[in-house]
Protein backbone atom coordinates (compact mmCIF):
# COMPACT_ATOMS: atom_id res chain seq x y z
CA UNK A 1 0.00 0.00 0.00
CA UNK A 2 1.29 3.47 -0.91
CA UNK A 3 1.42 6.31 1.59
CA UNK A 4 -0.97 8.46 -0.46
CA UNK A 5 -3.61 5.71 -0.75
CA UNK A 6 -6.76 5.72 1.39
CA UNK A 7 -7.81 2.51 3.16
CA UNK A 8 -11.43 2.17 4.25
CA UNK A 9 -13.71 -0.51 5.62
CA UNK A 10 -16.33 -1.27 2.95
CA UNK A 11 -20.01 -1.61 3.66
CA UNK A 12 -20.68 -4.80 5.62
CA UNK A 13 -17.32 -4.78 7.42
CA UNK A 14 -17.15 -3.19 10.86
CA UNK A 15 -15.41 -3.16 14.22
CA UNK A 16 -17.44 -4.68 17.01
CA UNK A 17 -16.78 -5.02 20.72
CA UNK A 18 -17.70 -8.54 21.79
CA UNK A 19 -18.98 -7.98 25.33
CA UNK A 20 -19.25 -11.70 26.06
CA UNK A 21 -15.62 -12.58 25.21
CA UNK A 22 -14.37 -9.06 26.07
CA UNK A 23 -12.43 -8.68 22.84
CA UNK A 24 -12.62 -6.59 19.68
CA UNK A 25 -13.62 -8.39 16.50
CA UNK A 26 -13.91 -7.39 12.86
CA UNK A 27 -17.30 -8.46 11.54
CA UNK A 28 -17.47 -9.17 7.83
CA UNK A 29 -19.74 -11.17 5.52
CA UNK A 30 -20.02 -14.61 7.15
CA UNK A 31 -16.75 -14.05 9.00
CA UNK A 32 -15.61 -12.76 12.38
CA UNK A 33 -11.93 -11.97 12.87
CA UNK A 34 -10.54 -11.72 16.39
CA UNK A 35 -8.39 -8.61 16.75
CA UNK A 36 -5.41 -8.28 19.05
CA UNK A 37 -4.43 -4.89 20.49
CA UNK A 38 -2.26 -4.06 17.45
CA UNK A 39 -4.96 -4.95 14.93
CA UNK A 40 -7.52 -2.93 16.84
CA UNK A 41 -5.17 0.06 17.11
CA UNK A 42 -4.57 0.04 13.35
CA UNK A 43 -8.22 -0.34 12.36
CA UNK A 44 -9.28 2.37 14.81
CA UNK A 45 -7.33 4.81 12.63
CA UNK A 46 -8.85 3.60 9.36
CA UNK A 47 -11.70 5.98 8.55
CA UNK A 48 -11.50 6.39 4.77
CA UNK A 49 -10.50 10.03 5.20
CA UNK A 50 -6.87 9.62 6.19
CA UNK A 51 -4.16 8.26 3.93
CA UNK A 52 -2.00 5.27 4.74
CA UNK A 53 0.88 7.71 5.28
CA UNK A 54 -1.07 9.78 7.81
CA UNK A 55 -2.25 6.66 9.64
CA UNK A 56 1.23 5.21 10.00
CA UNK A 57 2.69 8.57 11.10
CA UNK A 58 0.00 8.89 13.75
CA UNK A 59 0.48 5.34 15.03
CA UNK A 60 4.25 5.81 15.18
CA UNK A 61 3.84 8.97 17.26
CA UNK A 62 1.17 7.40 19.44
CA UNK A 63 3.16 4.37 20.51
CA UNK A 64 6.59 5.94 20.06
CA UNK A 65 7.88 3.37 17.56
CA UNK A 66 9.98 3.74 14.39
CA UNK A 67 7.69 4.58 11.49
CA UNK A 68 9.36 2.01 9.21
CA UNK A 69 8.38 -0.73 11.61
CA UNK A 70 4.80 0.59 11.77
CA UNK A 71 4.59 0.72 7.97
CA UNK A 72 5.78 -2.85 7.76
CA UNK A 73 3.22 -4.08 10.32
CA UNK A 74 0.36 -2.13 8.77
CA UNK A 75 1.22 -3.27 5.26
CA UNK A 76 1.09 -6.90 6.31
CA UNK A 77 -2.10 -6.61 8.34
CA UNK A 78 -4.08 -4.35 6.00
CA UNK A 79 -2.80 -6.25 2.96
CA UNK A 80 -4.21 -9.48 4.39
CA UNK A 81 -7.59 -7.80 4.99
CA UNK A 82 -7.53 -6.36 1.47
CA UNK A 83 -6.89 -9.78 -0.07
CA UNK A 84 -10.02 -11.05 1.72
CA UNK A 85 -12.08 -8.07 0.52
CA UNK A 86 -12.42 -6.77 4.09
CA UNK A 87 -10.69 -3.52 3.12
CA UNK A 88 -11.06 -1.13 0.20
CA UNK A 89 -8.15 1.01 -0.93
CA UNK A 90 -8.66 4.07 -3.11
CA UNK A 91 -6.05 6.39 -4.64
Amino acid sequence: MESQEFPALPRGVRLHYDRIREIWVLLAPERAVTLDAVGHAILSEVDGKRSFGEITQKLAAKINAPVDQIIQDCTGFLGALRARRFLDVSP
Binding site: D18, I20, R84
Partner: protein
Protein backbone atom coordinates in the same frame (compact mmCIF):
# COMPACT_ATOMS: atom_id res chain seq x y z
CA UNK B 1 -16.02 -30.85 33.32
CA UNK B 2 -15.22 -28.81 30.25
CA UNK B 3 -17.46 -26.18 28.77
CA UNK B 4 -17.74 -25.67 25.03
CA UNK B 5 -16.84 -22.14 23.93
CA UNK B 6 -19.90 -20.08 23.00
CA UNK B 7 -20.93 -20.44 19.36
CA UNK B 8 -20.33 -17.45 17.07
CA UNK B 9 -23.00 -18.08 14.46
CA UNK B 10 -26.66 -19.01 14.42
CA UNK B 11 -28.59 -20.26 11.42
CA UNK B 12 -32.25 -19.36 11.78
CA UNK B 13 -34.43 -21.37 9.42
CA UNK B 14 -37.45 -19.10 9.39
CA UNK B 15 -39.52 -21.47 7.27
CA UNK B 16 -39.08 -24.60 5.23
CA UNK B 17 -41.41 -23.20 2.56
CA UNK B 18 -39.65 -22.33 -0.70
CA UNK B 19 -40.68 -21.65 -4.30
CA UNK B 20 -37.75 -23.77 -5.51
CA UNK B 21 -37.32 -27.51 -5.15
CA UNK B 22 -33.59 -28.16 -5.61
CA UNK B 23 -32.74 -31.86 -5.46
CA UNK B 24 -29.99 -31.20 -2.85
CA UNK B 25 -32.02 -29.02 -0.48
CA UNK B 26 -30.39 -28.79 2.94
CA UNK B 27 -33.73 -28.95 4.74
CA UNK B 28 -34.73 -32.28 6.29
CA UNK B 29 -36.67 -34.75 4.19
CA UNK B 30 -39.51 -34.31 6.72
CA UNK B 31 -40.05 -30.55 6.51
CA UNK B 32 -41.67 -28.46 9.21
CA UNK B 33 -45.20 -27.39 8.29
CA UNK B 34 -46.25 -23.75 8.11
CA UNK B 35 -48.64 -24.18 11.07
CA UNK B 36 -45.71 -25.15 13.30
CA UNK B 37 -43.52 -22.12 12.42
CA UNK B 38 -42.38 -19.96 15.30
CA UNK B 39 -44.22 -16.68 15.78
CA UNK B 40 -42.33 -13.42 15.29
CA UNK B 41 -42.10 -12.66 19.02
CA UNK B 42 -40.39 -15.98 19.73
CA UNK B 43 -37.73 -15.31 17.08
CA UNK B 44 -37.23 -11.82 18.51
CA UNK B 45 -36.61 -13.29 21.97
CA UNK B 46 -34.29 -15.97 20.58
CA UNK B 47 -32.21 -13.36 18.69
CA UNK B 48 -31.69 -11.40 21.90
CA UNK B 49 -30.83 -14.59 23.82
CA UNK B 50 -28.38 -15.55 21.08
CA UNK B 51 -26.62 -12.18 21.29
CA UNK B 52 -26.43 -12.49 25.10
CA UNK B 53 -24.84 -15.89 24.62
CA UNK B 54 -22.06 -14.53 22.39
CA UNK B 55 -23.50 -15.17 18.93
CA UNK B 56 -22.07 -12.55 16.55
CA UNK B 57 -23.47 -13.59 13.19
CA UNK B 58 -27.07 -14.42 12.37
CA UNK B 59 -27.89 -16.18 9.12
CA UNK B 60 -31.55 -15.88 8.14
CA UNK B 61 -32.32 -18.87 6.01
CA UNK B 62 -35.07 -21.30 5.11
CA UNK B 63 -36.53 -22.70 2.99
CA UNK B 64 -36.78 -19.30 1.42
CA UNK B 65 -36.64 -16.65 4.18
CA UNK B 66 -38.33 -14.16 1.84
CA UNK B 67 -41.40 -16.41 2.11
CA UNK B 68 -41.71 -15.18 5.72
CA UNK B 69 -44.00 -12.17 5.90
CA UNK B 70 -42.25 -10.93 9.05
CA UNK B 71 -38.76 -10.90 7.49
CA UNK B 72 -38.35 -7.13 7.82
CA UNK B 73 -39.38 -7.16 11.49
CA UNK B 74 -36.96 -10.01 12.15
CA UNK B 75 -34.04 -8.17 10.52
CA UNK B 76 -34.89 -5.08 12.57
CA UNK B 77 -34.96 -7.20 15.75
CA UNK B 78 -31.64 -8.82 14.90
CA UNK B 79 -30.04 -5.41 14.40
CA UNK B 80 -31.47 -4.22 17.71
CA UNK B 81 -29.85 -7.24 19.37
CA UNK B 82 -26.53 -6.23 17.79
CA UNK B 83 -26.22 -9.23 15.48
CA UNK B 84 -24.47 -9.12 12.09
CA UNK B 85 -27.37 -10.13 9.88
CA UNK B 86 -27.05 -12.14 6.71
CA UNK B 87 -29.92 -13.10 4.40
CA UNK B 88 -29.48 -16.45 2.64
CA UNK B 89 -31.90 -16.37 -0.27
CA UNK B 90 -32.71 -17.58 -3.77
CA UNK B 91 -33.93 -14.05 -4.45
CA UNK B 92 -37.44 -15.28 -5.23
CA UNK B 93 -39.89 -13.26 -3.18
CA UNK B 94 -37.71 -10.16 -3.02
CA UNK B 95 -38.79 -7.01 -4.83
CA UNK B 96 -36.86 -3.77 -5.28
CA UNK B 97 -39.12 -2.18 -2.68
CA UNK B 98 -38.67 -4.98 -0.16
CA UNK B 99 -34.90 -4.82 -0.59
CA UNK B 100 -34.95 -1.08 0.09
CA UNK B 101 -36.91 -1.69 3.29
CA UNK B 102 -34.40 -4.38 4.34
CA UNK B 103 -31.64 -1.87 3.65
CA UNK B 104 -33.40 0.70 5.82
CA UNK B 105 -33.70 -1.69 8.79
CA UNK B 106 -29.99 -2.50 8.57
CA UNK B 107 -29.52 -5.84 6.79
CA UNK B 108 -25.74 -6.34 6.60
CA UNK B 109 -25.18 -8.85 3.82
CA UNK B 110 -26.93 -11.04 1.26
CA UNK B 111 -25.98 -14.51 0.12
CA UNK B 112 -27.68 -15.28 -3.18
CA UNK B 113 -27.91 -18.85 -4.44
CA UNK B 114 -27.05 -19.81 -7.99
CA UNK B 115 -28.38 -23.01 -9.57
CA UNK B 116 -26.85 -22.46 -13.02
CA UNK B 117 -25.62 -19.77 -15.40
CA UNK B 118 -28.58 -19.84 -17.76
CA UNK B 119 -32.33 -20.18 -17.38
CA UNK B 120 -32.43 -23.66 -18.91
CA UNK B 121 -30.04 -25.08 -16.28
CA UNK B 122 -31.08 -22.99 -13.28
CA UNK B 123 -34.82 -23.45 -13.71
CA UNK B 124 -34.43 -27.17 -14.34
CA UNK B 125 -32.46 -27.60 -11.11
CA UNK B 126 -34.65 -25.22 -9.07
CA UNK B 127 -37.86 -26.53 -10.62
CA UNK B 128 -39.24 -22.98 -10.83
CA UNK B 129 -39.83 -21.53 -14.27
CA UNK B 130 -38.86 -17.87 -14.52
CA UNK B 131 -36.76 -18.17 -11.38
CA UNK B 132 -33.47 -17.46 -13.11
CA UNK B 133 -34.67 -14.28 -14.82
CA UNK B 134 -36.12 -13.05 -11.56
CA UNK B 135 -32.87 -13.83 -9.74
CA UNK B 136 -30.93 -11.73 -12.27
CA UNK B 137 -33.27 -8.80 -11.57
CA UNK B 138 -32.80 -9.26 -7.83
CA UNK B 139 -29.01 -9.30 -8.27
CA UNK B 140 -29.29 -6.00 -10.09
CA UNK B 141 -31.33 -4.42 -7.29
CA UNK B 142 -28.88 -5.75 -4.70
CA UNK B 143 -25.99 -4.12 -6.59
CA UNK B 144 -27.85 -0.82 -6.95
CA UNK B 145 -28.51 -0.63 -3.21
CA UNK B 146 -24.93 -1.68 -2.53
CA UNK B 147 -25.50 -4.66 -0.24
CA UNK B 148 -22.34 -6.72 0.16
CA UNK B 149 -23.01 -9.87 -1.85
CA UNK B 150 -21.86 -13.47 -1.78
CA UNK B 151 -22.91 -15.87 -4.50
CA UNK B 152 -23.52 -19.42 -3.36
CA UNK B 153 -23.12 -21.87 -6.21
CA UNK B 154 -24.01 -25.48 -5.46
CA UNK B 155 -22.27 -27.70 -7.96
CA UNK B 156 -23.03 -31.24 -9.00
CA UNK B 157 -22.70 -33.50 -12.00
CA UNK B 158 -25.10 -31.53 -14.25
CA UNK B 159 -23.75 -28.01 -13.74
CA UNK B 160 -20.05 -28.40 -12.81
CA UNK B 161 -19.03 -27.41 -16.34
CA UNK B 162 -20.58 -23.97 -15.71
CA UNK B 163 -18.13 -23.08 -12.92
CA UNK B 164 -15.96 -20.76 -15.09
CA UNK B 165 -19.09 -18.83 -16.12
CA UNK B 166 -20.24 -18.71 -12.50
CA UNK B 167 -16.98 -17.02 -11.51
CA UNK B 168 -17.46 -14.44 -14.27
CA UNK B 169 -21.06 -13.93 -13.22
CA UNK B 170 -19.99 -13.27 -9.63
CA UNK B 171 -17.64 -10.57 -10.81
CA UNK B 172 -20.24 -9.00 -13.09
CA UNK B 173 -22.70 -8.86 -10.20
CA UNK B 174 -20.12 -7.13 -8.03
CA UNK B 175 -19.98 -10.00 -5.53
CA UNK B 176 -17.03 -9.97 -3.14
CA UNK B 177 -17.25 -13.68 -2.46
CA UNK B 178 -18.40 -16.84 -4.12
CA UNK B 179 -18.95 -20.13 -2.38
CA UNK B 180 -18.10 -22.94 -4.72
CA UNK B 181 -19.89 -25.70 -2.88
CA UNK B 182 -19.84 -29.15 -4.39
CA UNK B 183 -23.01 -30.84 -3.23
CA UNK B 184 -22.71 -32.51 0.19
CA UNK B 185 -24.62 -35.71 0.62
CA UNK B 186 -27.08 -35.41 3.47
CA UNK B 187 -30.87 -35.59 3.46
CA UNK B 188 -32.34 -34.79 0.04
CA UNK B 189 -28.98 -34.89 -1.74
CA UNK B 190 -28.35 -38.37 -0.38
CA UNK B 191 -31.70 -39.51 -1.80
CA UNK B 192 -30.73 -38.03 -5.19
CA UNK B 193 -27.09 -39.03 -4.98
CA UNK B 194 -26.97 -41.06 -8.18
CA UNK B 195 -28.01 -38.06 -10.28
CA UNK B 196 -25.84 -35.53 -8.43
CA UNK B 197 -22.57 -37.36 -7.83
CA UNK B 198 -19.72 -35.72 -9.75
CA UNK B 199 -17.27 -37.92 -11.61
CA UNK B 200 -13.72 -38.11 -10.33
CA UNK B 201 -12.62 -36.12 -13.39
CA UNK B 202 -15.11 -33.38 -12.54
CA UNK B 203 -13.97 -33.27 -8.91
CA UNK B 204 -10.33 -32.90 -9.99
CA UNK B 205 -11.14 -30.30 -12.65
CA UNK B 206 -13.11 -28.25 -10.12
CA UNK B 207 -10.16 -28.15 -7.73
CA UNK B 208 -7.91 -27.10 -10.60
CA UNK B 209 -10.26 -24.27 -11.68
CA UNK B 210 -10.64 -23.03 -8.10
CA UNK B 211 -6.88 -23.04 -7.48
CA UNK B 212 -6.21 -21.12 -10.68
CA UNK B 213 -9.03 -18.62 -10.07
CA UNK B 214 -7.92 -17.94 -6.49
CA UNK B 215 -4.57 -16.74 -7.80
CA UNK B 216 -5.96 -14.86 -10.77
CA UNK B 217 -8.74 -13.11 -8.83
CA UNK B 218 -6.82 -12.39 -5.62
CA UNK B 219 -8.12 -9.22 -4.01
CA UNK B 220 -11.13 -9.11 -6.34
CA UNK B 221 -13.19 -12.19 -5.61
CA UNK B 222 -12.78 -14.41 -2.57
CA UNK B 223 -13.50 -18.07 -3.32
CA UNK B 224 -14.66 -20.41 -0.58
CA UNK B 225 -14.48 -23.98 -1.73
CA UNK B 226 -16.26 -27.09 -0.53
CA UNK B 227 -14.66 -30.03 -2.39
CA UNK B 228 -16.69 -33.01 -3.52
CA UNK B 229 -17.81 -35.61 -1.01
CA UNK B 230 -16.48 -39.18 -1.43
CA UNK B 231 -13.50 -38.12 -3.58
CA UNK B 232 -10.86 -37.64 -0.87
CA UNK B 233 -8.84 -40.25 0.95
CA UNK B 234 -10.34 -39.62 4.38
CA UNK B 235 -13.83 -38.68 5.53
CA UNK B 236 -14.18 -35.04 6.58
CA UNK B 237 -15.14 -33.86 10.04
CA UNK B 238 -18.87 -33.91 10.71
CA UNK B 239 -20.22 -30.93 8.65
CA UNK B 240 -16.64 -29.65 8.46
CA UNK B 241 -16.85 -28.84 12.18
CA UNK B 242 -19.85 -26.51 12.07
CA UNK B 243 -21.27 -28.09 15.20
CA UNK B 244 -18.43 -26.60 17.26
CA UNK B 245 -18.93 -22.99 16.15
CA UNK B 246 -22.58 -22.58 15.32
CA UNK B 247 -26.08 -23.67 16.05
CA UNK B 248 -29.24 -24.00 14.04
CA UNK B 249 -32.85 -23.22 14.93
CA UNK B 250 -35.52 -24.89 12.79
CA UNK B 251 -38.82 -23.26 11.76
CA UNK B 252 -40.57 -25.16 14.55
CA UNK B 253 -38.07 -24.16 17.21
CA UNK B 254 -35.73 -27.14 17.54
CA UNK B 255 -32.13 -26.26 18.35
CA UNK B 256 -29.63 -28.34 16.38
CA UNK B 257 -25.82 -28.38 16.25
CA UNK B 258 -26.12 -28.15 12.45
CA UNK B 259 -28.81 -28.30 9.78
CA UNK B 260 -28.20 -31.98 9.05
CA UNK B 261 -28.44 -33.21 12.65
CA UNK B 262 -32.00 -34.46 12.20
CA UNK B 263 -30.70 -37.07 9.77
CA UNK B 264 -29.15 -38.92 12.72
CA UNK B 265 -31.82 -41.31 13.96
CA UNK B 266 -33.09 -41.37 17.56
CA UNK B 267 -31.76 -37.96 18.59
CA UNK B 268 -34.19 -35.52 20.15
CA UNK B 269 -33.63 -31.79 20.39
CA UNK B 270 -34.72 -29.10 22.83
CA UNK B 271 -37.03 -26.38 21.58
CA UNK B 272 -36.78 -22.62 22.08
CA UNK B 273 -40.47 -22.48 23.03
CA UNK B 274 -39.71 -24.60 26.11
CA UNK B 275 -36.37 -23.33 27.36
CA UNK B 276 -34.16 -20.25 26.97
CA UNK B 277 -31.33 -20.68 24.47
CA UNK B 278 -28.68 -20.39 27.19
CA UNK B 279 -30.06 -23.52 28.93
CA UNK B 280 -30.03 -25.49 25.69
Amino acid sequence: MTTAPPPIAMLAELTHRCPLSCPYCSNPVEMALQETELPTETWVRVFQEAADLGILQLHLSGGEPASSRDLTDLVAAAQKAGLYTNLITSGIGLSAKRLRVLDAVGLDHIQLSLQGTDAAMADKIGGHRGGYDRKMMVADWIAKIGFPLTLNAVLHRSNLHQLPDMLKMAQNMGARRIEVATVQFHGWALKNRDALMPTQEQAKETTRIVTEARTRLKGQLVIDYVPADYHSNFPKRCMGGWGSTGLNVTPDGQVLPCHAAQTIPHLTFDRVQDRPLADI
